[in-house]
Every structure is written in structure tokens, then in C-alpha cells.
Amino acid sequence: MSDPEQLLRDALQHRADHTTYDATPVGEVESGARRLRRRRRTVGAGLAAAAAVVVVVVPLAVVANRDPGTDPAPTSTTTPGVPPSSSPPSTTPEPTPELGEPPRIAYAEGDRIHEPDGRVFRLPPGLGVSGFAAYRGGYLVADTRNFEGSVGLTRYDADGREVASWATTGVPVSSADGSVVAWTSYAPLESGITAPTLVHLGSAVGGGPELTQEIDLVQPGVVGVLGDEVVVQAAFAEDVWVTDLTASPRRIESLDRASAVSSALGLVAGSADAGAVGRVVDPATGEVVWERQGVTVGPFSPDGRYAVTTATKGGRREIVEALTGDVVAEVEASGNDDFPTLLELTWEDDAHLLGDLAYNCCAHLARVSLDGSVAPGGLRGDIGGTGFAFAFGS
């Protein structure tokens, strides 16, 4: 831990240790629980009915085969009142020497999704965006609300109207070609609603059924899409599963946690040994392709040639050969040396990554090249803000 981080830790510990508290007796906890249970029964009846519309109707619309066009469009519950995204297409911002070229992929900041062609999709304010995927003319958007251990996932149509909304873990994930999107839905434990936990896979370009499969995992999240299979990670457990949503999911025994997939290579990256080892494995056989101590692996470049490793201590990042783990370049550290600069990386194309870069005063989007060099990525954000989000693809 660096000196500033240690100072912060010491300050927090000192503050917490020198404050007096009144602990709650267990009897009061139980009384509170009884009141909460009574309140949930009143509220939950209405919510359960709404959840049933979303959860039960969708599976009824699914057929086992995947021929596009053989199924009606999924039933939706349109919520009126959300204004359509009527913003006229704006011109692509001109690059400035100090900011550099703007992103060449869609990104979200605040309540807006920006497409590379200049289109702006406006979302209801205040929800935030933790991830999104283009879906059937509109978007699936995971927000930054935290409700009972989940985040909200909302489907918007091409006019910006809310089609449906539910609880999920993580973000929706597209296949590498953007043709299908996977996500999960579940009823949070604390909600009192009884509903199955589902994995969903839908055609992103319209038409065809949405496949769903009930999965017996606690708060599962989608890691990636491999062909017609979905890689799913369980929360609070060392469980990584692969499913085609028709047969029973199968576990990837050689991974405890999954961090990324490469549809180009058909490989899954993750960790084992309680996070001590970063691994790349073949999900079909569990064979370990390569591994390295003390790193996490991912994401993979779209063409499957490269991957990013991040040291679990210190955060040093390297670009490596995806099939061997051989180091190609170390990502430059930049910013003020007193405070470590960390990058959240997303592949922009086969040769560039985009990531958040925080300096002393500001936050920028930065662009990383295959030689590890870092340059401005075309956007400036607010320090202390939520940063930029990108469509998450395999």
C-alpha cells in the first residue's frame, strides 16, 4: 500500500476506533425484522404480480429452437411518461490537441449514451450507467442504483421508452459481433418476492426468441458470451459455469472466478487459488492454457491476439499474448507519482484500449496502444464522478 493509501487507512481506522456506538440488542433486531416482514407482505403482493408479468411471460414466449422469426416479439410492459430520446444527431466532437481523438466506440457518461456517429441516447436522469448493450434498436442498460444487493437493468426501445425493468447482477454482455446479448434477472433475497433466477440470451438485432434458463446460483452475473454459450459467475462463491440455456450448465472446474472471455479464441480468463493465480482456460475441457501468479487476466482484444494482465498488488498492467501470456508491453504509469494512477481498460479495437485516468486535478479518458504508451482519449470527466461506461462485449 502506498504512503497516501496508508495515511488514508490510518485516518479511517482512527476515526472509527475513537467513536462510541450503541449496539442493538438482538431483541430489537428481531422486532425490526417482524415489522419489516409485515411491511414486505403489504408491498410484495403488488410487486410479485409485476414480477410475474416480467418473469413468467418471457419464458412462455420462448421456444426451444432458435430459428429467428418463429416466435412473436417478447411481451413488454411499456411505461409511459419517459420522454423519447429526441436529441437530434450531434456532430462528432472535433478532437483537440490536448484531449485527442474521441472514443471510436459507444460510451456512457451521466445519463447519456454517445454513439461514435454522434447520436446521443438520453436516459432518465439520476440512474447512472454501469454498463449497457445495444439491443433491438434500443439498449439494455444496467444502472448504478443498488437495491437490496442488485442493480437495476432496464430495456429501452429505439424511442427511449422503458420496455421493462428488473433486478440483475453485473451488466448485460454482448457477443463479439454484437448479434446476441446475455444478462441475468433475479428477485433479491430481501425483497420477499419468490421468482426464479434466470439467465437470458437474446438476439440483439431484433426478431427471434429470447432464451431463458433457470439457474440455481446466488446472484449470478454474466461474464461473457462464447458462441451460443454464456459464461456465468456466482456471487459469494467460487463457481464459474457455462450454459447454452438448453442443457444443464456445466462447471469450469479449473477456475474459481471468471474475469473475461474471448469468443475469438473460445477461451475464458479468471483466477484460481483464492485469486492468487490468473489463468486462461479452455472451457470445453477445463485445460489450463497458461497461468501466472499474482495477476488478474482480461479483457481480451477483439481479435483474440492480446489480453491485459493486472498485478493484484500494485496494479501494474501489461499487454500480453493471449495464447501464451508472454509480455508484449507494460502499460505506462502516468499521473502524479504520489498517487498511483489506475486505468479501467476496455478494448476500443484490436490495437487500442480506453480507460479512466485520474491526475491530480482531473479525470480523463485515456487511450492505450499496444506498445503500452498512454495518450489522451478525447474526453475529460469530473473528479469524483462516476467515470465512463462502455458496452461490454466478449
Binding site: P4, L12, T19, T24, V29, S150, A237, G275, G335, T346
Partner: protein
């Protein structure tokens, strides 16, 4: 810390399963509540809000006790509920408790050894957005890994990294220069 007053009411006729369950829950409460209170305080910045947030969180844990299959994950489960409860406070039109006192609240914890830096850092932490603050508390106080923090908050590891980086940059920007360790080092 004030000792908890009273105990559970007598409940004659309780099944053995319920009694065992309640005993297990009580043991967890006795062992972990002090530490959870500290975390709740750092999340909320207010002692009374912290007590209320934790009380609500423990009530929810009590209701879900049988569903939390992995007992090693209970702390993570409670922390997640606390973060969510803290994020939801504004929805309830939270009213701060008023306590009549002739003594000014001891807001400052100036330690003669920290030269005021700890108080300055704490003041800045309280200005961070709730999400960033939760990341800071979980990473630097609870010392969770980036992956554990990401799991608990339902965000990506990358977001955890960037939130920490932004928070540290904000601290560096706002902590008075004379309290900056680098500045003081130069003066020696």
C-alpha cells in the same frame, strides 16, 4: 462502547430448530456488531445514522438468515445491505436526531500525533459521492480486495480501481498543502 441493554424476551415453546437458529444469529451479532458499527459509521459519517443503518441491515439479515448458506459470507452480505441502506436513506426523508446538549459535539478527533492530517482526510472523505466513499471504506478500512469490493458493490473491478484512483486524487487536491506528506518532507 455502551453495553447492550436487556436481552431477548422469554419465548417458551420455541422449536429446537428456531432456538438453534436464533442462538447462531445471536452469536454472530455479539461477535461482529462492533466491527460492523465502525464500518457503518465510516459509510454514513454520522454515529446515529450508522446505528440505524446497521439495525435495519441486521433485521434484513435476520429474515434472510436461513438463505445465506455460506456462513463465511455473512459479513459480505451485511456490508452489501449496509451500503444499499445508506444509499437509500434519501428516499425515506431521513431526519437527523436532535440531542439537547450544552456541550459542543466532539466532532474533531485531533490526535497530537497525526498533526491534523487524519481529521483533514476524514473531512474530505465525507464529501465524496456515496459510491466512491463506499469503495474507499471497503478498500482501505475493511481492506477488501478489488475483486471482493467489486462483488459486494455489484460493479466491475475496473470501476473499483478508477473510483479509488479518483478518490485519492480528490484527497490530494483538497487536503491543505501544509498537511501534504511530500510538502512536509521537503521542509525537513
Amino acid at each position: 462502547m455502551q453495553q447492550p441493554a436487556g436481552g431477548r424476551p422469554e419465548t417458551g415453546g420455541m422449536s429446537a430448530k428456531t432456538a438453534s437458529r436464533d442462538a447462531e444469529f445471536t452469536a454472530y451479532l455479539d461477535a461482529r456488531q462492533p466491527q460492523l458499527l465502525r464500518t457503518a459509521y465510516l459509510l454514513t459519517g454520522d454515529r446515529h445514522q450508522a446505528e440505524d443503518v446497521l439495525q435495519t441491515s441486521l433485521a434484513k439479515l435476520y429474515l434472510a438468515w436461513d438463505k445465506v448458506r455460506d456462513r463465511d459470507s455473512v459479513d459480505a452480505y451485511v456490508r452489501r445491505i449496509m451500503v444499499n441502506e445508506n444509499n437509500s436513506l434519501w428516499r425515506r426523508g431521513w431526519k437527523k436526531r436532535e440531542f439537547a446538549t450544552e456541550v459542543l459535539p466532539d466532532r474533531e478527533f485531533r490526535d497530537e500525533y497525526d498533526e491534523g492530517l487524519g481529521a483533514a482526510l476524514w473531512d474530505v472523505v465525507q464529501t465524496l459521492p456515496k459510491k466512491a466513499r463506499a469503495v474507499v471504506v471497503l478498500r482501505y478500512y475493511e481492506q477488501l480486495t478489488e475483486a471482493e469490493t467489486a462483488d459486494l458493490l455489484g460493479i466491475s473491478v475496473g470501476t473499483v480501481k478508477s473510483q479509488c484512483s479518483r478518490a485519492l486524487a480528490a484527497l490530494r487536491e483538497r487536503v491543505p498543502a501544509e498537511l501534504n506528506p511530500g510538502h512536509r518532507e521537503e521542509d525537513r
